[in-house]
């Protein structure tokens, strides 16, 4: 675009990015140094001893393997369900006419205002009464419910770019709404569903408040991390490892797909126009 690019943005943004990765460098340094060196400053250069002891011991001292599996289960269930159901709801809202359509849609898409704090106490009581406390469902149900607020709107906006001629053609060929949905629309909403899935997986994997209150035995990684997060707790090296293990999966997914988010992701729905 601009014929010659100036040099200074590189330096300015380079220093900002440097500040940004310092906490990451710190946590990695802590995870590979003995605790004695950490408590005299993880950034010190002399003496530097490389050790993977913390990476070995963390599995013994903290229930981290189990927490990882719990996180995986919670985030997977909480991701798969909206990915399956949001397109169906979006299809109904976008192409069908039925009683209360507008009011239902308005309530649903504006539920993004509801903070997690609003749902915790009533759901805690409900789960205790129904025996769902400490099961994956106790967090998956509110996660899925809250996700529809943005997921349905995201898929519905995607559908407004979807070529109507395809739908019309299917219906002229005798497809009913269910068949149109399953064979024409659903296969083409994969881009939108991928966006829903990635964001939802990342958010549910990372979230603390709901799992902290509803899952005691089945603690997820952030919950486990929160119980050992005090500034004066010992085992800095192992806590650093736990922090890395907690962050690695969402971070990799996120970096892998970050290009996709910055692209405007219009549509590629098998027809031009």
């Amino acid at each position: 675009m601009i014929t010659q690019t100036p040099k200074w943005p590189v330096y300015v943004l380079g220093s900002v990015a440097l500040v940004w990765i310092i906490p990451l460098v710190g946590i990695i340094a802590m995870s590979i140094r003995p605790e004695g060196e950490i408590t005299s400053g993880w950034w010190t250069i002399e003496p530097f001893t490389f050790t993977l002891d913390a990476w070995r011991e963390v599995w013994v001292n903290y229930p981290i393997g189990r927490a990882f599996l719990n996180s995986l289960a919670v985030a997977s269930f909480a991701t798969v369900l909206p990915v399956l159901f949001a397109p169906a709801a979006a299809y109904a809202f976008h192409y069908l006419k039925f009683p209360f359509r507008r009011i239902l849609l308005l309530i649903l898409v504006n539920a993004f205002v509801v903070p997690n704090q609003v749902v915790i106490i009533p759901l805690f009581k409900l789960w205790r009464e129904t025996g769902l406390i400490d099961t994956y469902w106790s967090v998956v149900i509110p996660f899925v419910g809250l996700s529809f607020a943005w997921a349905v709107l995201l898929v519905k906006n995607f559908l407004s770019n979807f070529p109507r001629s395809l739908i019309d053609a299917a219906q002229v060929d005798g497809c009913g709404h269910l068949r149109t949905y399953f064979f024409i629309v659903l296969p083409n909403t994969i881009t939108a569903m991928a966006a829903v899935g990635i964001l939802q997986f990342m958010w549910t994997w990372n979230s603390l408040l709901l799992p902290m209150l509803f899952l005691r035995e089945n603690a997820t990684l952030p919950v486990m991390l929160s119980t050992i997060s005090g500034a004066y707790e010992p085992n800095w090296d192992q806590r650093a490892v736990a922090t890395i293990i907690t962050s690695i999966l969402p971070l990799v997914i996120f970096l892998f797909f970050q290009k996709y988010f910055s692209a405007d992701g219009k549509n590629n729905s098998g027809s031009k126009g």
Partner: protein
Amino acid sequence: MSVQHGSILTSQTQAGPFAGLANRLFGGNLRRADWIAFALLAPTLIFFSIGVLYPLFETIRVSFLDWTGLSQPKPAGFSNYTKLFRDANFWNALRVTLTWTLACTGISVAIGWSVALISGLAPKQTAPFRVAIFAAYGISETASGLMWLGILQPDFGLLNGILRLVGLEGWASPWLGEPSTAIWGVVAAYVWTQAGLPLLTCYAAIQAIPKSQLEAAHMDGASHFQILRYIMAPLSLPGVRIAIFINLLNSLKAFDMIHILTAGGPIRATETVGYFMYQESVIYFKQGYGAASTVVLLLAVIVCSIPLILDKASESK
């Protein structure tokens, strides 16, 4: 717009050659379409009702009850709310919330926007730097909090370490343990996780500026700074606007980062309304009172999102 979408089937069949056939086959085809619609919606509505609507109405209901610990709930009218606004701790929470949301939103959007603008001048060379800043957005607040302890920890955190190194030992401080600085420590850590979003939305807006416009400005002799100031800055405002909203709502709802770094302390210096609610309902088990403060939080979020709600109302016809 979508009213037309809604009637695709009916208008198509009525107008098209298959009209009579379809009508005979479906009988009153509208009622059948209704059933299909609700079948498609059923899973969404079920999860939404249990996971969001029920607790929402229950919280509002409980906020009008006198209900602490194990006592029997009694109707209490607005007394929880009047008590709330006579509670010095709640006023403190409101003050902290104001500082917290303005600081977090303002700083994160300012950083994200500036980085987006500057990198708009050299998009290719600065790509790795954008990724580095954006990456923090993928890390949980819990893990970020622990990472920031490595900076803010009083004895061997990086910040005090640097201060001691350059001879400013007197400035070294237990940042998170000091009521006057604790909130800024938490703000710094929170901004670190949140700046990626404004960067993304603003950069997307800048990318959408037609290249010809930038080239024309350059041909006419505009300096880089002028291009940045008079073309990129105004044209990226939609990205700024959406980022302000999202980060404002996120920081109003914030809980995790505060819980990890300070748990509302020291002496309530970092206790936002979103954390006050947790203290009252979960720790002290004052259900009615806690619910009332939750409703205040909900109202605050609703007030801040009115422009977005109006947007969506027009979008979701």
